[in-house]
Symmetry: none
Subunit: 139 residues, 4 copies
Amino acid sequence: MSGSSFVSIATGSIDPIYRQIYDQVRRKVAAGELLPGQEIPSVRDLAGSLAVHPMTISKAYSALEKDGVLQRRRGRPMVIAGDQAQPDGKRLELLRPSLERVAEESLQLRLRTRQTVQFFATVLGERAQRLGAGSTTPS
Amino acid sequence: MSGSSFVSIATGSIDPIYRQIYDQVRRKVAAGELLPGQEIPSVRDLAGSLAVHPMTISKAYSALEKDGVLQRRRGRPMVIAGDQAQPDGKRLELLRPSLERVAEESLQLRLRTRQTVQFFATVLGERAQRLGAGSTTPS
Amino acid sequence: MSGSSFVSIATGSIDPIYRQIYDQVRRKVAAGELLPGQEIPSVRDLAGSLAVHPMTISKAYSALEKDGVLQRRRGRPMVIAGDQAQPDGKRLELLRPSLERVAEESLQLRLRTRQTVQFFATVLGERAQRLGAGSTTPS
Amino acid sequence: MSGSSFVSIATGSIDPIYRQIYDQVRRKVAAGELLPGQEIPSVRDLAGSLAVHPMTISKAYSALEKDGVLQRRRGRPMVIAGDQAQPDGKRLELLRPSLERVAEESLQLRLRTRQTVQFFATVLGERAQRLGAGSTTPS
DNA sequence: GTGGTCTAGACCACT
DNA sequence: GTGGTCTAGACCACC
């Protein structure tokens, strides 16, 4: 978990590791945090730092390449492909599926809307502060 | 979906059949459409009408029983369990893990906190309305 | 090499096994030889009969699913997806890349056009006869 | 592609750089654009002007030498090798494996023999014309 | 029974 | 050094 971690994985998560990597890279590119032309960690490097099998990383990278997010360069590290940064509104929409899911849960728990929203604001605030304060603290 | 269908399944859906059933029952109970003490179709009956393997139904029912939504009665159909409401605060905490996850995504997308929270309120409102409107809750 | 072999692989080929399988299935579907709804061999079965690792088959099937050629059915064999048979002209176009490649070779060998075309006709005729005569003799 | 460029490479191409170089030289020789005895750029020069690793150029040149297209001369630039034409029949046979492969594809697509052969003739004609236009006309 | 994911480790092609 | 392909074999989720 170095300060400049490229991505982070949650071993206990429901969705597979390669998917987590795929999603995170896609999001970072959309947010403009990873810029076109920028080199990404090699399959072996990332596999090493995440303590994961190289093939798992390779699978994520391949999917990202197929979807036009990454570009392969034979014998050299892969790079972020042409401009794909999204305007604010579009980036917000990327969050919708996750929000729908959590909204569903909230309703199943019979929680009141205002209560849920306020709690979310709190959680989000805490998390933002943690990030802002001590350099980087992902995961 | 005929008027009397207990639940409906979407064969092409991403999530497994047993999950679809689980979710629908849970939602109908939360919405008050299925009331405590009410009998539900037997495993065999439902399996027959949905053209699904009985084990799949059984799995959904077992999960619902484990989560206190259904009650088993030897030799007789299962029934919706009694209301075991929890204090608000406790139920809210149940939502935290999901909120943390979506907060993480929001930060990775570099969205502003206020913007995200407002969008969540919107999504939550839409979803609540959809549930409130047509009593019935298709997937 | 049973008479009803689903696909065949050339171990010495330039392109990877999973690609060979992908291409053959795609072609057979385009040709209407494999029809929508039709079941295909399971990953394990095909892996066994081709003496190949299951993951190799899985990779081919996954790609075919992603491209809409196959449809997954949880717990059951995959099937050919909705209608995709192509009219003659389009099918012919599918052959173009291969023809371009061989045309290139022909020119590099300084062969005369007519000579090459006639030779191709011969080869094609022989192969068609072999197929027509002794049931099936692929590979 | 400047007028005096020996070869050009497409970095985004599917096939490797060394192959692109190999093919272009072979083609130019076949087309008579490069004549026996003519000197070609040194490995270092070409590597510099193409901004490619010298080893890549070296690999292409070695393959060309191995196939009798180039001739090495100690301490001096390599030259195009003398013409070693082969009888027509023999060269035709060199094309058989490729033709067999494409014949296989044609049959899998259930295309009629005549249709396929005619289409091949068309493709071959187009390609010959494209090559012929530039300078010398291959038979 | 079905397919999916992951690990461990080998080999290859390309730069 | 880079990524790609394949094998061997384990474990999981779903029907």
